[in-house]
Symmetry: C2
Subunit: 192 residues, 2 copies
DNA sequence: CGATTTTTTGATTGCTGTCAATTTGGGTGG
DNA sequence: CCACCCAAATTGACAGCAATCAAAAAATCG
C-alpha cells in the first residue's frame, strides 16, 4: 500500500505479447494498492524522480480497523476512481484520436493545475509512448494528433515539453464531455 | 441506490452526438448507485423483464452508519469493480475484435454460470448492438466476429441466442489474459 | 401472416497502425 | 564548450482492420 508524495507514476497492465495499457497516472497525493483479493495486480513505474510512502498491508489493515472514518474516505476515493475509469472506457471505446487527446490534455490541466511552470502551460511528465498507451493509440498517431491540434491553433508546444492550451472551450467541445443519458434508472427496457 | 434481484441491466454513458459506451452489465445480486459526489452519473436500462430493490439514498446512508461491516463489504465490491473496469480498459485500448469477443464470452460464462439453460450453453440477454457498445465495436463487426468464431469451431450458436463455448482453453488463449507486469512498484523509472 | 426489428453478409472507405526515415533534444565525454 | 551518441519525437508512405453504407435474411411481434 503506497501513497505518492512527490513525482508521478504510470499504472498499467500488459498482455502476454507485450501490448501495454496504461490505466492511469498517479501524482502526489494519490493512493495505490487496494487489490480486492490479491488478484488483478497492477504494475507501476515512475515517470520521473519520485517519492512514495510505503505502508505494510497488515499495518494498514489495523489502521483501518481503528479509524472507521478512514474506510469511509477510502470508499469515497475508490468510487471516484471507478467513475474515472468508466469515463476512460468511454474514451477508449468510442472517441476518435483527436477527441482522446483533447480529453487527455484537459484531464492533465485539471490534475497538474497547481504544480506546473506558473504560466498557464503544462509540463507533461510522460512520454508520447505513455500517452499512446493510455489513450489506446500509437506513438505516431499521438504525435500526428499533437501536430494537428497545433496547426488548428488549439494548443502551443514550447521548447521543452511545455504545452499551452489556447482555446480550452474548443478543446472541451472536441473532447465531447459525456452525458448522463435520460434517466437514472430503468426506462425503455421491456418491463420492470 | 439499487440492488438487482432478477433480470439484467445495461449501464452506459452517452456522448453528445449519441455514441454510446456500455460500461457494464448488472445481473441479479449486483449493486448500483454509489456516485461519489453526485457527478458522474450512469444511465441504466433493463435488458429484459427485471426486478430491482430500491433504497432511498438517505436511508442507505443511515444503514451504513449503523453497520460498519457494510461499508467494508462495499469497499471490497467497489475495489473489485474498479479492477474489472481496468481489465475492460485493456480490452478497449489494446485488443482486437476477435480477442474482445472471446474475452466477453468467457466473462459471460463466468457471470451466467449458474442460471442459464442447464446444458453448457449461454443465453445472452443483450443484443448484438449492446455487445458492440460494450466492446467498442459496431454491430456488424460483432456479427462478423461471431461468424468467424463459429467457422473456427470455437463456438456454436443455437436456434435462440444460445451460445456454446466449444473450446474454452482456445478461447482463453485468444482472449489473452492480462498480466501482472514485472514488479509491483517502481522499477525502471529514473529514480525514486 | 404481414410488419418491424435484429442479425447477417457484402462492398467499399477511411482512420489508425505499421514500417521506415529524418529530425530533435538531452546527456556524456573529450 | 562542443562534438558525439542515443532516445524520443516527428513526418512520410503504405497497409489493414474495423467502420460505413447498403441490402438481404432471419427472428420477433402483433
Amino acid at each position: 500500500v503506497f501513497t505518492v508524495t512527490a513525482g508521478s507514476l504510470r499504472l498499467f497492465q500488459l498482455l502476454p505479447d507485450g501490448r501495454r495499457q496504461i490505466v492511469g497516472f498517479a501524482f502526489a497525493g494519490d493512493f495505490l494498492g487496494l487489490t480486492s483479493g490479491g488478484l488483478y495486480n497492477l504494475s507501476a513505474e515512475t515517470l520521473e524522480d519520485s517519492r512514495v510512502c510505503q505502508v505494510p498491508r497488515a499495518e494498514f489493515a489495523k489502521l483501518v480497523q481503528e479509524i472507521p472514518a478512514l474506510e469511509h474516505r477510502l470508499l469515497d476515493r475508490t468510487s471516484l476512481e471507478l467513475a474515472k475509469a468508466r469515463e476512460q472506457m468511454v474514451l477508449l471505446g468510442r472517441k476518435t484520436a483527436g477527441e482522446r487527446l483533447a480529453t487527455f490534455l484537459l484531464q492533465m490541466q485539471t490534475r497538474l493545475a497547481a504544480a506546473p511552470p506558473g504560466d498557464g502551460s503544462l509540463r507533461l511528465p510522460m512520454t508520447r509512448a505513455d500517452i499512446a498507451d493510455y489513450l489506446g493509440l500509437t506513438t505516431e498517431t499521438v504525435s500526428r494528433t499533437f501536430s494537428r491540434l497545433r496547426a488548428l491553433k488549439l494548443i502551443e508546444i514550447g521548447d521543452n515539453d511545455a504545452i499551452r492550451l489556447l482555446r480550452p472551450q474548443q478543446l472541451q467541445a472536441l473532447a465531447g464531455g459525456s452525458y448522463p443519458g435520460t434517466g437514472a434508472a430503468a426506462k425503455p427496457g421491456p418491463g420492470l
